[in-house]
Amino acid sequence: MSDTILTPNPSDPILRIEGVYTNIAQYHILQGVDLVVPRGGVTMLLGRNGVGKTTTLRSIIGHWRAHQGQILFDGEDITQLPTPAIARLGIGFVPEDMGIFADLTVEENMVLAAVSGPINSARLDWIFTAFPPLKTFWKSEAGTLSGGQKQMLSIARAMIEERKLYLIDEPTKGLAPAIISTMAKALKDLKDQGSSVLLVEQNFAVARALGDSANVMDDGQMIWSGAMAELGGDAALQERLMGLSMEAH
């Protein structure tokens, strides 16, 4: 079904998913997903609601188990590894529901997220520049933050250490336009540092601004892979792959 396959470094991607099937209870959510995330740059994972984008991310981090197929991260088969082991290989995950620890302070959330040791102060300064509210509310309980600030914290937790791959699930969902641009700016910074990001995003403007390559899912399968510029510039293709609703977001 793929029109074109774009793999900038086909020999050495950071993540390669081959024929992954994931069932949740009796539902067959992923039905043979193939995905290649190249080293460096932002890879978009797009598609309508309920097509399996979040499940794909969760299968990578090991929350849901792939029943069939293989997930290779940096050349290593992680399909059956426990979640903490996968995370410690260098994957930063920002879930859709943010998953901040509300009873702990912003500082404690960040300290916990820096699993390999004390927080790197240069990196923290960068995060404070990208998300000033985190500095203001450093000692406050995370539960008292606003929705946008919680999302900033959630992303900052993934960014506090340099990871080989960032999995980010709908970072702009439900946020005010001003905060969306803060988010987009921070993700752009991350991209400019040469990081590899797999990003699920419903906001097409953000996707177009950030994405290098794009992958579109439908019904538990990858139906299109190619350059984000190609998808962004072709309204008919967008309509065919994702329906018209995408532009409205």
């Binding site: 903490p84 702990l104 916990l112 309980e141």
Partner: protein, 356 residues
């Protein structure tokens, strides 16, 4: 200084600070402020239950793990001291060995139960602890040759902790502020200091990076895993630590009572009491254990007297004397619990801190 003793975990509320300070002063000076066999006994029980309830909160409030085996661990510690004191003879060495052996056995048992059940889901842990605790209670009552069965064991503690031991005769004429300087006084301070040390150790643990990870797991275990923490290891470690501290509290209890029996240290009622104390005081904060245990033990010991007095006051009125009769104290205790859970769903501490 205070901040570092409390591991940076301050009460964060003026009324709470005053109440906790009041409890601390009353307990520290109990033999002098409230001289009397019964009052000092109540104070010692409060000290021990604060530790026991706090160790349960370590599990329930910080780890989000429900266990029904906490009295079993408490009992293991108590029986440990009882058995060594019976077989090795009275002495501090017997107490030390009994406590250590009890704490070690409790931790080992917790490790076993935890590894078997915490890998799956927390609810299995609750069920397995219930089964193991019931089995141990039956075993203790059946192995009467070793444990004294239903009658329990009465044993002797070191002379220095007994009422017959007197000191300070020359200097203070055997009395300080009118209180007899005897072994019972020393036994109280043995319990008080032991309980304080254990409480401060727990405070340190919950405010350490380990404690933070536990809190994170309680809130969102999947998220903690995807950051890179092995949830099962942390849960098992918390279970072992909590079991060992419960056992040490049991050892203190045994030293204080100089008796152990299934009803005093192993019963299901005691388990329910612990749960209530945690909930009343407030989960997820060790200060809640202090308040919960104090309120509960005081109610258990003095509600009956209070009601007797109240029913005397209203003797001429209809129905009221019947309702307030001292025999109905359990009914009123129940009403008090329902009201406290209704009005303080986050416990007394949660309410005083006004967080949620």
């Amino acid at each position: 200084m205070i901040r570092s003793v409390l591991s940076g975990d301050l009460p964060r509320s003026v009324p709470l600070t005053l109440i906790l300070g009041g409890i601390l002063i009353c307990l520290a000076l109990a033999p002098f402020l409230f001289p009397g066999v019964r009052t000092v006994d109540t104070a010692a029980r409060i000290c021990i239950f604060i530790v026991l309830v706090a160790s349960y909160d370590l599990l329930l409030g910080y780890g989000g793990i429900v266990s029904f085996a906490h009295t079993m661990f408490f009992g293991i510690g108590a029986y440990g001291v009882a058995l060594t004191s019976t077989h090795m003879g009275r002495g501090f060495d017997a107490i030390a060995i009994g406590s250590l052996a009890g704490a070690t056995l409790a931790a080992a048992l917790a490790l076993l139960i935890g590894l078997f059940s915490l890998r799956v889901r927390a609810i299995f842990f609750a069920m397995i602890t219930l089964a193991v605790a019931s089995a141990v209670a039956v075993l203790v009552s059946q192995l009467s040759g070793l444990t004294g069965g239903e009658d329990g064991l009465t044993f002797k503690t070191p002379r220095a902790l007994g009422p017959a031991f007197k000191f300070g005769q020359e200097m203070f004429d055997g009395r300080l502020f009118g209180v007899k300087l005897n072994g019972k006084l020393l036994a109280y301070y043995f319990v008080f200091i032991g309980a304080s040390v254990l409480f401060l150790v727990m405070l340190r643990v919950v405010n350490s990076p380990f404690g933070r990870v536990l809190q994170a797991i309680r809130e969102n275990d999947f998220r903690a895993e995807s950051i890179g923490y092995r949830v099962v290891y942390y849960r098992v470690a918390a279970t072992c630590l909590s079991a060992a501290i419960a056992a040490l509290a049991g050892s203190l209890y045994a030293v204080w009572l100089r008796y152990v029996g299934p009803d005093t240290v192993l019963s299901m009622e005691l388990m329910i009491d612990i749960l209530l104390m945690v909930v009343i005081g407030g989960m997820g904060t060790l200060y809640g254990a202090m308040i919960g245990a104090t309120l509960f033990v005081l109610a258990q010991n003095y509600l009956q007297n209070l009601m007797g007095a109240a029913s005397g006051l209203v003797a001429d009125l209809p129905i009221l004397p019947e309702l307030l009769s001292a025999d109905r104290w359990l009914l009123w205790l129940g009403v008090l619990f329902i009201l406290s859970v209704y009005f303080f769903p986050t416990g007394v501490v949660g309410r005083l801190r006004g967080t949620r």
